[in-house]
């Protein structure tokens, strides 16, 4: 278990402030935030690589705030190129056992078992420079896990990989973590990566935690405009509640009225995720939140199509490719959009 109590860290001009965080044993937690938010500093602080200015870090109930990194039992895996370039794959993997002066037969045994998990037997004699991105990351994970750490710290482990190997390493991460039950803290700026791996997501910005929750909570109920934007909610309208008849609310933005189902009594923003908006050619029958508009732009994103529909405010909608093709949409075309009152989240 990882527990951070009011942790404050200063690195140069950057400050991590008042970090309170609990990661339960065996849980996979993702720290999500933009570049420069302090994610890596947070991870490195847990690993013991930065001095904690204030507060406490507990690993499995033990106060390790002033413990040196080599005695914390927390292995870190960075984004790229952090295999020791002068050592072979095998020497890289057994590094952690060698520095602990483990007996040779035991090292061989541990090496065999970890190679089985990560399927890297054939790479052992090679130098890191000759490996592909995916292979490197598998070796780095094997090296981190062979020492049987209590905690695995991953710093953007998928960012340097191409789409295909990213998929492979992602499922490898998930499966190994579940198999070994190792407490994992994974840092990323990629929201989809966080959604697909995390039991819990911690959103961090400017050195502060801004929201902690299950992936669906972060996804559907962002606590602030920042989180909403960062999780690609896209349709974020600043306005006010004009009518309230709990749980029915009318939220007004720039003259248009949006029906909302919520128990909130005050709100400045209404958030509607782009994939929650239906686009139709015909006017749907008497549903609330139906607005006519014209297609302003079409962005092809492969599996999905991102449409901007001008209905006075602009709405961004995400359509599955198949549906888009069936509708034969083009810019300038008249359409209707509608969304359920329960799909609107108020902040």
């Amino acid at each position: 278990m990882i527990k951070l109590k009011n942790v404050q860290v200063k690195v140069g001009n950057f400050n991590l402030e008042q970090i309170n965080l609990v990661v339960s044993k065996g849980e996979y937690t993702v720290i999500l935030g933009p570049t420069g938010a302090g994610k890596t500093v947070l991870l490195e602080s847990i690993a013991g690589l930065h001095n904690v200015y204030q507060g406490k870090i507990l690993l499995d109930g033990k106060d390790v705030t002033n413990t040196v990194p080599e005695e914390r039992g927390a292995s870190i895996v960075y984004q790229d190129y952090t295999l020791f370039p002068h050592l072979t794959v095998k020497e890289n993997i057994v590094f952690g056992l060698k520095v602990r002066h483990m007996a040779r037969p035991k090292i061989t045994e541990a090496l065999e078992s970890i190679c089985g998990i990560f399927e890297i037997q054939l790479l052992l004699k090679r130098l890191p420079g000759t490996l592909s991105g995916g292979e490197r990351q598998r070796v780095a994970l094997a090296r981190a896990l062979i020492t049987k750490p209590e905690i695995l710290l991953l710093d953007e482990p998928l960012s340097a990989l191409d789409a295909e190997s990213r998929e492979g390493v992602r499922s490898l991460l998930k499966n190994t973590q579940q198999k070994l039950g190792i407490t994992t803290l994974h840092v990323t700026h990629d929201f989809e990566e966080a959604m697909s791996l995390a039991n819990n997501i911690v959103v961090i910005n400017g050195g502060k935690i801004v929201q902690i929750g299950k992936p669906t909570e972060i996804f559907y109920h962002p606590s602030s405009e920042f989180v909403a934007r960062f999780t690609m909610a896209r349709n974020i309208f600043a306005g006010k509640i004009v009518h309230q008849d709990a749980p029915r609310i009318i939220f007004q933005y720039n003259g248009i009225e949006i029906s909302v189902l919520s128990d909130k009594t005050a709100a400045q923003h209404a958030v509607i995720r782009p994939e929650m908006i239906q686009v139709t050619l015909e006017k749907p029958m008497a549903t609330p939140n139906t607005f006519p508009g014209t297609v302003k732009s079409i962005v092809d994103r492969g599996a999905n199509i991102l449409l901007t529909i001008d209905c006075l405010p602009e709405f961004e909608c995400l359509l599955p490719r198949k549906q888009f093709e069936n509708m034969t949409l083009s810019t300038g075309k008249q359409v209707y959009i509608n969304f359920l009152p329960s799909s609107v989240h108020l902040i």
Partner: protein, 271 residues
């Protein structure tokens, strides 16, 4: 206009920067190599042979190599940790310290010798203390070594510091979290990754030690290192006596350098 001239004109216009820069480069290469080559190839072969049989010359060459070697070893032991500190840690006045270490390169070496005399001379500070334990810095091997050390250590520190800077700190971080102590990290990760720069710096230091004259002559005229011997022969007997020894010293330095280059290249290929 003949075809060739037109082609040359086009070539010049397309590559004028390279052409102009190449001419300047050629000048500087000639300026450095020509005198060295001339002294080696035009010196009288019998005189060269005579010098090689001269016990004073042999003794002085061996003394020079020996002193430069000890200097390089001392420089390595003291300079590598300093270079590592400069590369890895921030401390007050770091910029000043980083610049000051290069002072020995810019001050006149005779002035450096006199400055050293003020500290290590028998009547001064450290000199007095060393004198009490039987180490003298004037007219002795120790004097040669401190003179060589003073003027050559910046080469090692600069090179090693740059080498350490090139090693990704994250590699050291990973090693720590894998259970390695700071000493183990240095021995198994940082040093092996920076060793090429460190070796290059040590060799530069060694070579600089061999060629040092100004600071050495102030502290130690006798026993004579080769550069002092060349000067002495030149001053007492003129050019003919000085040339063969100069040629020998140049050949030795060139051989060390070529050997080192070949070694580094072979090692690079292996990587």
């Amino acid at each position: 206009m003949p075809k060739f001239a037109r082609k040359a004109g086009v070539f010049f216009i397309r590559h004028r920067l390279q052409v102009v820069f190449s001419i300047f480069s050629l000048l500087i290469i000639l300026f450095v190599l020509f005198p060295l080559a001339k002294i080696v190839f035009l010196s009288d072969k019998t005189a060269l042979w005579q010098s090689l049989k001269d016990i004073t010359v042999i003794k002085s060459i061996l003394l020079t190599l020996y002193a430069a070697l000890i200097t390089a070893v001392i420089g390595f032991i003291l300079g590598v940790p300093f270079a590592f500190i400069l590369a890895r840690y921030d401390f007050p006045l770091k910029g000043v310290v980083d610049g000051l270490i290069n002072l020995p390169i810019v001050v006149p070496h005779t002035a450096a010798g006199i400055a050293l005399l003020f500290v290590f001379g028998r009547n001064f500070l450290l000199g007095k203390w060393f004198d009490s334990i039987g180490v003298h810095f004037v007219d002795s091997l120790a004097g040669i070594i401190i003179a060589m050390l003073f003027v050559s250590v910046p080469f090692l520190v600069n090179s090693a510091r740059d080498g350490f800077r090139k090693v990704d700190v994250r590699l050291e971080n990973v090693a720590r979290t894998l259970g390695a102590s700071p000493w183990q990290v240095f021995r198994r990760v940082t040093f092996p990754l920076a060793w090429r720069s460190i070796l290059a710096g040590t060799l530069m230091m060694f070579a600089r030690g061999i060629s040092e004259f100004g600071a050495v002559i102030i502290l130690t005229y006798y026993p004579m290192v080769t550069s002092v011997l060349i000067y002495e022969r030149f001053a007492s007997y003129g050019l003919t006596q000085a040339v063969p020894i100069a040629a020998i010293l140049i050949i030795i330095c060139a051989l060390i350098f070529i050997g080192f280059r070949l070694f580094l290249q072979r090692d690079k290929k292996r990587d």
